[in-house]
Subunit: 341 residues, 2 copies
DNA sequence: AATAAATCTTTACGCGCGTAAATTTTTTGT
DNA sequence: ACAAAAAATTTACGCGCGTAAAGATTTATT
């Protein structure tokens, strides 16, 4: 119980019987003081529940304990999930993460970076919008703030890049589809939001060529981040026009696949690998929702844990002063077999 | 271009030709200075891109321009969507919102409130976890920080409550289902996470009684926030046990319905209002994903815009000093007719 | 027990800005 | 053009803490 209200570190130092500079040292890093001192401070902390004023704390410190986590679209459960994962790791490592979403808008991304700058963060975990990002703003930001890029790489910006191995993703699932039925055609957006989509198309083309099949890419129209709706509309159009050359469709990502499944439903096209189904549909990403589509979506999933751990650890290492040359880490995905393909 | 780096407000005041206190006044509220002064400051701002140090700013100010937005689970697109909506409104109103998720964990909710406290926010928009919330911590927080509760009410905490009219939701969609086919049974979690679920059950019972039908509530097991999986497993069980007394199922919320649809698919039960379908399924919430289920889900949707606007405006008014007694505002939902029911 | 090393205390300054009071300048109204 | 009102300037202090330096105290080493 706080019998007397502690107004500042001076007063707290008094009640804990430790000098203020030492208390300050403790809050900077509890390990930096002697055990006996730490015990006394923490005993006082129990009694009085004092917390240092973070504004006064961060004003003079060259580097704060703040971290930024930026994703392109928080309403996409994939990003929400990876953001949650990163957030937990940051907290566990003793940082104060703040979550931001660019909401799919380049100007918002710039605004977020601007806000982040003023927070003087020790580092930032940034998943850029991709194609529509204002490269100059990103680049300038990375020059000023230790930034680790994840999910979608932009040039060789920042400390390093950590993401998934999109080439492996597509090669792997294409291989699976070829071995279990007709070779797939590839369903994608004509102007995808991020570079991962290009890698996936490229990998599809390579894989098909390697297997001796003729690739068939269906590129649908649509701008923005409403992938389900783009997939649904594009799916309707493609079905109507008979553009699917095989009974197997590999989608560039799960959200597109979810939209395509809806289009299939709406046109009465049955989907699945079971007898009697007309077409097979597979996605890519291991989207949290993919388990609950009808039929449940066969997909190749990001290794969420590994991506977030690798990304977070790389940033922490850089913050701790471990300099290492820019590098790109791409982690393999795991095939998740469900009923759709 | 910034020819000379501006280090603080003093230097910026110098290059803009305005005194520092006036510049300070400008950053507090641009409207509070003369037009000619504002123009000169903004001209200098163009040239030098100076931003006040937010830590120094907030250190002395009794009230910051910070706002907190807290949702129980950010990976639920419903909350992600409403959070995005609120965030935009806060920015438009000149505040600096920060987004937090309790990730479905009561201890995380407490941690978030603790973090929020140290940010000395002007106000907080809080959607509590509900049943599992630590009431005392919430209550203590509301005593210290102007807090507006939304989505799910807890006692009469905070400045006010803004949410949806769950009674109207369920009455309305129950009415629709009764008029268009067999009266619905009600599919829900036995121990729901928040009080809205209780209102919905109550409203279902009242509506059925009013229409002269016998209500049938199927309460399924499951703890936590993975509603789709709970709905899927509960759906399997209920289908196996033949617990659905009519061919129409009203789910307590859309995520449960999504899981139930998956269970139906997995058991080969056809869903829809079309000829030949076995059962009808309806949800409640207007979840962003409900458009893309197979079949697309008939639901009653929150008025996202109205809820977020009412909540944000109420908080802004309170921050501006407009005192008003605690009140609860519950907004009506709109029926969205799709193929599932 | 004596010395060296680590840690703590005391003292002091500064960070960047909010803010108040007294004064001067500019704008407004007639 | 003149007085009154509004706004800007000058001056000055304080917020809560980081941090540096010098001296005092505790702990570790032999």
């Amino acid at each position: 119980m706080a019998d007397t209200k502690i107004r500042n570190m001076e007063e707290f130092a008094a009640v804990s019987g430790i000098s203020r500079p030492t208390v300050s040292k403790y809050f900077n890093d509890p390990e930096s003081v002697r055990d006996s001192t730490r015990t006394r401070i923490e005993a006082a902390l129990e009694k009085h529940a004092y917390r240092p004023n973070i504004y006064a704390m961060n004003q003079n410190r060259k580097l704060t304990k703040n971290l930024g986590i930026v994703v392109p679209l928080l309403s996409d459960p994939y990003f929400a999930e990876i953001a949650r994962n990163l957030e937990q790791r940051c907290i566990a490592a003793g940082y104060r993460p703040t979550l931001f979403s660019s909401h799919g808008q380049p100007e918002m991304e710039v605004h977020v970076l601007d806000t982040l700058r003023s927070l003087k963060p020790a580092g930032v975990l940034l998943a850029p919008l991709g194609r529509s990002s204002e490269k100059d703003a990103l680049s300038a930001f990375c020059d000023d703030v230790p930034t680790l890029i994840f999910d979608s790489s932009v040039d060789e910006l920042g400390l390093a890049f950590v993401g998934s191995d999109n080439m492996q993703f597509t090669a792997h699932i294409t291989d699976y589809l070829c071995r279990t039925g007709e070779p797939p055609c590839f369903f994608e957006m004509k102007t995808p939001a991020n570079p991962n989509a290009h890698r996936r198309r490229q990998s599809y083309l390579s894989a098909m060529e390697e297997f001796g099949y003729t690739p068939d890419v269906i590129s649908i129209d649509g701008e923005g981040w409403e992938f389900e709706e783009i997939g649904r509309l594009g799916g309707h159009q493609a079905l109507k026009d008979g553009r699917f050359s095989t009974n197997t469709i590999l989608c560039s990502n799960d959200r597109l696949a979810i939209g395509l499944l809806t289009a299939c439903y709406e046109q009465g096209v049955s989907v699945g690998r079971a007898e009697g189904a007309t077409i097979r549909v597979a996605g890519q990403d291991g989207h949290p929702h993919s388990r609950y589509t009808c039929p449940p979506l066969t997909t190749i999933s990001h290794d969420y844990e590994a991506v977030s751990q690798t990304a977070a650890d790389a940033l922490f290492a850089a913050i701790d002063g471990q300099v290492s040359p820019w590098k790109s880490t791409r982690l393999e995905g795991k095939l998740i077999l469900r009923d759709s393909a």
